[in-house]
Amino acid sequence: MSALLEQIAHCVEFGKINQQSPYPPDMKGQPGADELAKEALEAGIRPEEVLSGGLVVGMQKVGVKFRENKVFVPQVLMSAKSMAAAMAHLKPFFASGAIQRKGTVIIGTVAGDLHDIGKNLVSMMIEGGGWEVVDLGVDVSTEKFIESIEQYPGCILGLSALLTTTMVNMEETVREIKAKHPDTRVMIGGAPLTEDFKNSIGADYYSPDPQGAVEYLEAV
């Protein structure tokens, strides 16, 4: 039973989507996360175990390797794709409430900024960590963030900014969120950001990489 979960985790870590998928080359012809997740559920493994013992484990491994520069963005995207293939089999269980996610994370790139590659990666990793992600997209206004907090009580926020000029908007957004919802936790990221900047704007957490966000979410 656990061998199947290990196999799923392996597929996710190495980006093996399904049997037809030629990637990674050394797993050609073998079943991928798609078939294995289905098989696991049919074999009676509980859906939450498929999630926590298979998908989350695989995504965590790839997240750590990405942080250590052992793999790069395209490989993380392959992993995310294979996670999504397995996740499709879990969808009905989320819908019925048979499995619960750890919580909701609202993510978006701040007002005035259109960069989304980094934000998308973070959002895939967080979803792979077992969280529900609501992606508000790019150029997200403060009002939109606040509306979403009200729509998803208890959520945690993830804000992204790639330019020093839009970091100013991030500061404003964080200030207004904290004024209205002081208990809402806000994590931030993006190439020009720093720990000092996080402290100066009163955000709760800064991470230069997606895995840091996943670890922070586990810790809070």
Partner: protein
């Protein structure tokens, strides 16, 4: 004010697949399967999706203050900071340039993402970045050739947002150009649209020199170009 503005053919630009791999994080020729095939496939279709364009204007009499780390030109003050001010200080004229890979490549990348293929989307996006850079390089070369006609040399190209030069100065930089020059617009938050665009200054003068390794004079430890330089084989 005179403006030079031109579209470029893809064949005029130097786009190397190895550079795409570098930008993706790999050493040239070493990205794992299936990425080389996707790179090839995207490369073959590039022509249909990008419209590189660039332009510049030349301003006389720039003044550089090494005490204040400022450049004054065309009635504006640019906070070019230490490195860029020092590198440009001997310029008799400044070429102010903008260029873009065009809007199409960003749309193409978005479409690939939306159709559930983020890897292809990312590779297309990386090509977009590289084309924007290659267009800036081509423009740099043209400006160098023009300067050469009057026995002048040119500096490296420097962009707001690098080496401590605030991105905010994009507002002043764009004020030299007519609206939508080369199809590029600037938002109030100083973001250029199309996204795959680059702007900057190039110094022109008798004593202006080109620096092969600017990384050595910069202290940004996290800059991607430092990392790329380490991976790229030195020319033999």
């Amino acid at each position: 004010m005179e403006f030079f503005q031109t579209p470029f053919k893809l064949s005029e630009l130097t786009i190397e697949k190895g550079d795409i791999e570098l930008l993706m994080g790999y050493s040239p020729g070493e990205s794992p399967e299936p990425f080389p095939e996707i790179i090839d496939e995207v490369y073959r279709q590039l022509l249909d999706h990008c419209s590189p364009e660039g332009g510049y204007t030349i301003l006389d009499n720039p003044k550089f203050s090494l005490d204040e780390n400022l450049t004054r030109v065309g009635g504006h003050v640019f906070k070019t900071d230490k490195i860029v001010t020092r590198m440009l200080r001997k310029s008799e004229r400044l070429a102010i340039f903008v260029c873009t890979a065009g809007e199409g490549i960003g749309i193409w990348a978005k479409d690939a993402n939306a159709s559930g293929d983020p890897v292809r989307g990312f590779i297309i996006d990386t090509f977009g970045s590289q084309i924007a850079e290659a267009t800036a390089n081509k423009l740099h070369k043209i400006i160098g050739e023009e300067a050469g006609k009057t026995q002048k040399t040119i500096s490296n190209r420097y962009s707001p947002g690098y080496c401590g030069w605030p991105v905010k100065n994009q507002q002043e930089l764009f004020s030299f150009f007519p609206e939508k020059f080369c199809g590029i617009s600037l938002s109030p938050s100083s973001l250029m649209y199309p996204i795959k665009s680059v702007s900057g200054f190039i110094g022109i003068g008798q004593e202006v020199g080109y620096q092969a390794y600017t990384c050595d004079s910069c202290n940004d430890k996290h800059c991607i170009f430092r990392r790329l330089r380490k991976k790229k084989p030195e020319p033999v």
